[in-house]
Symmetry: C2
């Protein structure tokens, strides 16, 4: 589990690449490596034109006995939190790397699954499948600390390790069970409910015995939540004029738990519709990520009188104690078919910018992944 502590350490592929060359290199083999960078920092919603594909020549040889490895990326996880690292005012290196500023012109680091193609580290051999923090690239130079774990062949597709059995699944699990502390029969509201995390939170809540309503941005998604994922109800917030009245309609007895992925006006409306001792797990705030004018103005009178708890969280803090339970329960739900997995997979390195931009205009349903190599796995 210690690997989780390092989960968010940035990979400094280019810097490391420049340091290669000490000692004897047995075999030199170069490839053309495409990678994605931001051209500049930006503050609002991302556009494809904010990104650029670059090409470098990468030497695949590594010094034996060193900690250097070359990983060929198979799948890249596309996560909304990366937007906060692309801003000029994002945090500097001394803060956790969820918010470590991305440098324009340098490959963006993020969770992925790859295959070791060269290793100077004797714990890893060529052909190993690994989960870790790699780069938005075809290949990347990594060190052991950036690898979370080896992936052994299992009954589940590899991609599950980036979603339902990965960070997204863990976030849904610990956020819902540990922060929201649900009781059976409680009324649960989930925003961005078709997203990688929201879609799982709603299902965990239903399996646990709660009443669950999700909000999404299209009628297709409403139908998906109700028909495919078993939500009790769902609505398209874009078709509602007054979110507070809408919530009153869907929760005539009030909301006990809000799993917040969007922040902003929806959080304001939720606070007004919460029951006493309501709990808000703040997992994400995508509406605020791309427009800080959309910050939630909270009615603290309600927060006080209803004794509401609003809690931000990051999954790695909570995983040490809950990873095993999470894996056992979630794997079982997958085996019995009680948990539906929704993935939205694009193909090829060039699709990364549009995949990322799509997170902020609601184009994905479920976990967004880019598959880099057609034939692998």
């Amino acid at each position: 589990m210690q690997a989780f502590i390092f989960f968010c350490q940035p990979v400094e592929a280019q810097e490391q690449a420049e340091q290669v060359g000490k000692g004897e290199i047995k075999k030199k083999m170069e490839v053309s490596n495409k990678y994605i960078v931001i051209k500049h920092h930006f503050e609002d919603a991302p556009k494809e034109s904010d990104f650029e594909i670059k090409t470098e020549t990468l030497d695949l040889s590594v010094e034996e006995g060193s900690d250097d490895m070359i990983v060929k990326n198979l799948y890249i996880s596309i996560n909304p939190f990366q937007i906060n690292r692309m801003k000029s005012f994002s945090a500097s290196q001394d803060v956790i790397s969820y918010s470590t500023r991305i440098t324009p012109g340098r490959a963006i680091d993020g969770p992925g699954i790859g295959k070791v193609v060269a290793s100077g580290n004797n714990k890893f051999v060529k052909g190993d499948l690994v989960l870790g923090v790699f780069t938005w690239a075809e290949y990347c130079l990594v060190k052991e600390r950036t690898i979370m774990r080896k992936l052994e062949p299992s009954e589940f597709p590899l991609t599950y390790h980036l979603g339902v059995l990965g960070l997204g699944g863990m976030t849904a699990y610990v956020g819902f069970f540990e922060l929201c502390k649900p009781k059976r029969g409680e009324k649960v509201f989930v925003s961005a409910a078709c997203g990688s995390i929201g879609s799982l939170v709603g299902q965990y809540a239903k399996l646990f015995g709660c009443y669950v309503v999700g909000c999404v941005g299209s009628q297709n998604k409403v139908a998906f939540l109700k028909d495919k994922l078993g939500f009790d109800d769902a609505f398209n917030y874009k078709e509602e004029i007054d979110q507070s009245s809408t919530l009153r309609r869907y929760f005539p007895e009030g909301i006990d738990i809000y799993f917040d992925n969007v922040g902003g006006k929806m959080l304001e409306a939720v606070i007004g519709n919460m029951n006493t001792f309501g709990r808000v797990a703040v997992c994400g705030a995508t509406s605020e990520y791309i427009d800080i004018r959309k910050r939630a103005s909270l009615d603290l009178v309600n927060v006080i009188y209803k004794r509401i708890t609003i809690q931000g969280f990051l999954t790695p803090d909570l995983m040490i104690h809950h990873f095993q339970n999470f894996m056992i329960k979630t794997s079982n739900y997958l085996r019995t078919g009680e948990l539906q997995v929704t993935e939205d997979i694009s193909l090829g390195i060039k699709s990364i910018p549009s995949a990322f931009v799509g997170l902020f205009n609601g184009s994905n349903i479920g976990k967004k992944i880019v598959k880099l190599v057609e034939e692998e796995e």
Copy 2:
């Protein structure tokens, strides 16, 4: 302790008064009774002209064997939360009575200390000193459920039961120790730090071993906190242009705990200056009570990345488990002189409106109390 459950039940003195008359009345004695009402609901800062003093003739006789008692008020506690009950959009009867709407023209109920002058209830006799929810009046008709407890003669002044040994003290104690979960050496920020609750939170925090800074609205109060109450530092927010920079100056290592009595812009500034795993106990939001445009727009990115918890609370929820410890510890601190008591006492029923209005323009230092009877105690 069960009495706390009933602490917030409104007294319906007038209604009850109208019901008097059943059965035999042994002795009829009438007094002229002055009481304070609001003329109308209002939404902004209170003005003295929003209030009115009325006079009624009150029959002091009660039916023996009934639950009726007449209490002569000695001290009235003046609390900011009452403002929320004076608004037209305040909650109706089905919500806890911290927010139960006050009816214009009817005596306002609130915590006080009185002397029983007539009792039909055999648990109370004439002359008993009682703490409970009475009215902003010279006399009031009460029932047993509105009495919190009898007050026996003790080493402490009666007024302490409305402040340091009463609701304010308990609020400071449970809010700080139970919600904020302090560790020694942590950095604590308190707003409205010269108020009845803030002044105690800061002292508890110092006694516990924290670093404590308070914010207040005048230089006199700054000096008071530092010289009399032992705060490590204090500032006058009215002299600061950018509260966020100010907080950075007073907390170069960040804030771990914020005991919030004011809400609004100060809460926004605090969130930006908090350390990871920071805790905010939302006790009051006076800046928002009188102007909802001043609501805090929270930076949820900080709430998430710093894993901040923001929690509203009401003291009665927490008291069952903590009352005894609170009383023992606080009484000891008072005996040793480690805890300074600050009271701000006005005299006479007519001073109630100005005493209440003064809470919102910073005129009081410490617990605001109106003493109704010069010669009593």
